[in-house]
């Protein structure tokens, strides 16, 4: 029963929502809107679970003085005080919470994001090493597309921007669409497996 009841809920509601895609009737739309409003009620519980998990993992590390436990302590202190600031003074503009968000969270996120530029250079270096005919094609295509995006490309030859556009619009788009078709079918297959009860891993465990 522990497995069957959730499975039945998934199957019944799954087919109802598939039906909703094809049925524009008011009953169908009202039911969908009503049901979706419940998901808002689920989210806070999930956040509570997340916070509990964070507390347990890092709390255990701190109490057991596990290696690098100091980081866990910083995490917990930040968690408590950010939440405290939010509950105490609200989250509007000008509150301590917003001060933390603007002066702590945003700069740190921006720092992580800026690292991406260096990682892209590193990845590009790996990708563009002409070790095989395929990699050479990739290298040539990459150079043309890059040159096609900057004024110097057009200065070298009027064909470079046009070739770059062609590469992006024809072979690149064709490959993308091929992948997207496969992804779409894959999604449909997984959804169907879930609807028919073939795929049950999401319930915990395998078949």
């Amino acid at each position: 029963m522990k497995r069957q009841i959730p499975l039945m809920i998934v199957i019944i509601l799954g087919f109802l929502f598939v039906g909703h895609t094809f049925i524009p009737h008011k009953y169908s739309i009202d039911f969908y809107d009503w049901f979706i409003s419940w998901t808002k009620a689920i989210s806070p519980f999930a956040v509570a679970l997340g916070v509990m998990s964070l507390w347990m993992v890092h709390g255990t590390k701190v109490t057991r003085k596990a290696p690098n436990w100091q980081y866990s302590l910083v995490t917990l202190v930040a968690l408590v005080f950010t939440a405290f600031a939010g509950f105490m003074w609200g989250t509007n503009e000008g509150t301590p919470f917003m001060w933390l968000f603007k002066n702590v969270q945003l700069p740190m996120s921006a720092t992580m994001f800026s690292l991406l530029a260096f990682y892209i250079s590193s990845a590009a270096y790996k990708a563009f090493r002409a070790r095989s005919p395929e990699a050479t094609v990739l290298l040539v295509a990459g150079i043309i597309v890059m040159l096609g995006q900057v004024p110097i490309g057009a200065m070298i030859s009027k064909w470079i921007p046009e070739t770059a556009t062609w590469i992006l619009n024809v072979p690149n788009l064709a490959a993308k669409r091929g992948i997207m078709t496969g992804v779409g079918l894959g999604m449909t297959a997984v959804s169907l497996k879930i609807l028919l009860g073939i795929e049950r891993t999401y319930l915990g465990g395998g078949d």
Partner: protein, 884 residues
């Protein structure tokens, strides 16, 4: 107590957090933050229910983020009624700020405070309070200070009512006892209010700075609203259509006003102009203008008809209802001026300037197209569609495709409706001399054509002919614009007439309306309009009386419905109806309010217009939109889904009979075991990242399926697995998946709940956490399965730097190149979804996997067939499939 480095740091940390709010509330001179020059004035041209507040904004150095406005009927209790937000960095650039307290606006609802609460920063004897509370003892008496309109959900109005008797005092005409519907405050979804004319209201404003500090209120000021005469009408177009002997009038409607009862049109002898102006200036009741026409506006706050047609063939204008009986001679029209006026519900009248009549014949008037009204298909029953006219095409822009400017991409738009399908479009392109440059047959309408033109061409002519509509052609030019250095579309003509000169106005009226109201004014290019007809779900009532003991607010128990047998509107009393009758009358009310009749007016906005008859189809005049059970545009998707389902079913059956399907080897999946084995040999943990999207994403579900297999294998090898989660809803599911995997492997003892843990929902904090784990725990194997965004490369590069073996799988096309570059194996797109089946290898999973392959074959055949047919200009196949 010994202070370690860590403890000291912690205390400092705490101090910063605690002291921050105190520092932001440091001593400042509050007097400098009090709003100055607050004043209240009456709003012009209204029904005496509007007041305007103005004040001088504080300088931007004060870092004000909002001004909060409070209102009351006495100086000792003022409630918060609204606020104006200010950009703290730019401040307010104007010299004054304004707030309008007019029309129906918010009074109270479920979000109002439950009890009377003083505003933040107010002392015990402070006069400012948060919004009017949901407390009947406070809200009830306030009802008398305003005109209130309540919105009550139908079910509450019909079934949650309590019958109450209330004696109407000082009412000699009505019966001394009246029945009311008593409703609790929670039965009202919203209460709206209007100010009462001539009643005194008090206002003040409070400035709030960026630290959310509430400063003392401005000096309390008061004001009264007065009923004013309507605004001055703007423009009247009198046009005499000589061959039809009719006077056409078209005028500009006022700004939307709820205090407008009539429009009147007058004629005035030219010689009497000065006498008329003097009489109007002196406010005399009588003047020399003669009334020709009156139109009632029965729908407040909506646009009623702004035109009139007066037939003067017999020289007499007569309307008994409005006492109009005057003579008019077609030959003497030029001796007259014409003017119009707005009259409000208090009979205050404002006249327009005077205008001379224009003469024309009916050949300059537009031709009204045949139009149809139908219930829109594929909807929930909340739209009627009105469509008319033949299709049209218009060029909307162009861009050069090369530096020599000899290739031009021309964008065009098509305008048609569901009854007139567009087939092929023929473009004939010629130069300034009329020499044909190119002809293009557009078989697939993709809203763009590529034209090859000679260099330095400054003007290009386009002749557009639509297949099936050869009786007209559209001409348009592209003209070179020196400023933008591009060819810009000029006016489009159809059979030598301006394509957009006339616009279409659609009017509608339901069973309960007295007059038609405009539903939409559309440009001359439009050929279809979907008229939204909302479902009725509320009743609007004016409550006045309340009972604090019973906690009830009284409203009239009646509602308006329609008697279809008697063909008249009807007001019914809830207390005289049983449940069945309530349902019947409610159904009739819905039908009457949502059934509309339509007519159309084609006009140039200057008196040259034609009005259609009310649309009628086989005797039906009112059109009620019905909900549909099948979305026809989704039928191809439904058929494809059924075919796919059938394939799955058949192949599962085949797999169950023992048929061994061939599945091409996928290196990334086959290496999973080796990757886990590597971690086991090294005695280091495995990291599994299940993407950064929620549980509703199929990629996450596929990822969790793979997690189950990986966790089971890891449990068998007794290798630790770490699963960091970025979406809280995924956490309990992932924990259950890993736990169950350990149970299946027969190693429940090795399951550690804390190995599946939540990090954060913040994208870059999440990736920072994962990178930290990779480096600190020195993980041997990384799995990145699911949907990823910008964090993908940061994670994978760090993993590669730590020397871990990495297997990724994602359907995020933008992240695939990064994974391919930095990971040892990558599952591309659909391989992510196939992985679970590939690993399980049971008949059910394999049958589904093969069905995907076969369906892919069908798609490839369709794509090839579609390409071939489209190349041969056979577009039926491609048009049969929906775009979305």
């Amino acid at each position: 107590m010994k202070f370690t480095f860590l403890k000291t740091g912690l205390i400092l940390f705490l101090l910063v957090f605690f002291l921050f709010p105190i520092t932001t509330h440091a001593a400042i001179d509050e007097a400098e933050f009090i709003v100055q020059d607050l004043s209240v004035e009456d709003v012009k041209y209204d029904d005496g229910t509007g007041l305007k507040l103005t004040w001088e904004p504080l300088p931007k150095e004060k870092r004000i983020i909002e001004y909060r406005i409070y209102r009351g009927v006495t100086t000792d209790t003022l409630f918060y009624i609204g606020r104006i937000d200010v950009n703290v960095k730019t401040g307010v650039s104007s010299a004054t700020m304004s707030y309008f307290d007019k029309d129906w606006n918010f009074f109270a609802d479920l979000t109002s405070p439950s009890k009377l609460k003083r505003e933040k920063g107010q002392s015990k004897d402070g006069v400012l309070f948060q919004g009017i509370p949901r407390d009947i003892n406070v809200l009830g008496p306030e009802l008398e200070n305003y005109t209130i309109l309540s919105i009550i959900p139908e079910k509450d109005f019909y079934y949650k009512k309590e019958k109450v008797e209330h004696i109407v005092e000082n009412d000699t005409t009505a019966a001394d006892t009246t029945n009311y519907s008593g409703l609790k405050l929670r039965n009202f979804s919203t209460l709206l209010k209007k100010l009462i004319p001539k009643k005194e209201y008090f206002y003040t404003v409070v400035a709030v700075n960026e630290a959310r500090r509430y400063f003392p209120q401005a000096k309390i000021v008061s004001g009264k609203a007065f009923n004013d005469a309507p605004e001055k009408p703007k423009k009247l177009y009198p046009v005499f259509v000589e061959d039809l002997k009719q006077l056409n009038f078209e005028w500009t409607n006022p700004q939307k006003s709820s205090d407008l009862a009539y429009f009147c049109i007058y004629k005035l002898r030219k010689k009497d102009l000065s006498k008329f102006q003097k009489a109007v200036e002196n406010g005399e009741d009588e003047n020399s203008a003669e009334l020709l026409f009156v139109k009632m506006t029965t729908v407040p706050n909506s646009d009623t008809e702004n035109y009139a047609i007066i037939d003067i063939a017999n020289g007499i204008i007569f309307d008994e209802d409005f006492g109009i009986d005057t003579k008019i001679n077609a030959n003497e029209l030029d001796d007259y001026y014409f003017l119009y006026s707005f009259v409000d519900y208090h009979n205050q009248e404002t006249y327009s300037d005077v205008f001379e009549v224009e003469h024309c014949n009916s050949d300059v008037l537009p031709i009204i197209p045949a139009f149809k009204v139908v219930d829109r298909i594929d909807d929930k029953g909340d739209y009627n569609t009105i469509f008319w006219g033949d299709p049209a095409v218009k060029l909307v822009g162009s861009t050069y495709q090369n530096q020599t400017k000899t290739k031009l991409l021309v964008a065009y738009e098509t305008y048609t409706n569901s009854s007139k399908k567009m087939k092929n479009i023929h473009f004939e392109v010629s130069d300034e001399n009329g020499e044909i440059i190119q002809t293009i047959n557009e078989f697939f309408i993709d809203n763009k054509i590529l034209v090859e033109i000679p260099e330095n061409l400054k003007k290009i002519n386009f002749k557009i002919i639509l297949e099936g509509y050869e009786n007209y052609e559209i001409q348009q030019q592209l003209v070179y614009n020196e400023t933008t250095k591009s060819l810009k579309p000029a006016t489009a003509f159809v059979n030598d007439g301006d394509l957009e000169k006339f616009s279409y106005a659609v009017y509608k009226k339901n069973y309960l309306d007295d007059e038609f109201e405009i539903t939409k004014k559309l440009s001359g290019l439009q050929r279809e309009y979907d008229d939204k007809i909302k479902y009725e779900k509320d009743h609007y009532k004016v409550p006045k009386i309340f009972d604090a003991d019973k906690k009830l607010i009284y409203v009239a128990p009646s509602f308006e419905t329609y008697d279809f047998e008697g063909d008249s509107s009807l007001v019914v009393n809830l207390f005289k109806l049983n449940k069945k009758e309530v349902k019947r009358y409610d159904k009739a009310r819905h039908f009457a309010k949502r059934s509309y009749q339509y007519k159309m007016v084609v006009t140039d906005g200057e008196g040259h217009f034609v009005e259609s008859l009310v649309y009628e189809n086989e005797g039906v005049k009112y059109f009620f939109p019905k909900p549909n059970w099948v979305k026809r545009t989704m039928l191809p998707a439904l058929i494809a889904g059924l075919i796919f389902g059938l394939l799955v079913f058949m192949l599962i059956l085949k797999a169950k009979t023992g048929h061994d399907f061939y599945v091409r080897p996928i290196a990334g999946i086959e290496e999973i075991d080796n990757a886990i084995g590597r971690a086991t040999e090294m005695g280091k943990p495995i990291l599994f990242v299940p993407g950064f999207t929620g549980i509703s994403d199929v990629a996450t579900l596929a990822s969790l399926a793979i997690l189950g297999r990986v966790a089971k294998k890891a449990a068998e090898y007794d290798t630790k697995i770490l699963v960091p989660i970025g979406v809280p809803l995924v956490l309990p599911i992932a924990q259950e998946v890993v736990k169950e995997a350990h149970y299946e492997a027969g190693r429940p003892d090795t399951y550690d709940k804390n190995s599946v843990f939540f990090i954060t929902t913040s994208q870059f904090a999440y990736v920072a956490g994962i990178n930290g784990i990779m480096i600190r725990e020195k993980v041997a194997t990384n799995f990145f399965m699911g949907m990823f965004f910008a964090e993908a490369l940061i994670m994978a590069e760090t993993g590669a730097a730590t020397g871990a073996i990495q297997i990724a799988g994602t359907d995020a096309i933008t992240q695939l190149p990064f994974f391919i570059t930095t990971c040892d194996y990558t599952l591309i797109g659909e391989e992510l979804y196939a992985a679970s089946a590939y690993l399980a290898r049971n008949p059910l999973q394999m049958g589904t996997l093969k069905a995907v392959d076969y369906f892919k074959l069908i798609i490839i055949i369709s794509v090839v067939a579609g390409t071939l047919l489209s190349t041969l200009h056979l577009t039926f196949f491609i048009n049969a499939l929906p775009e979305k």
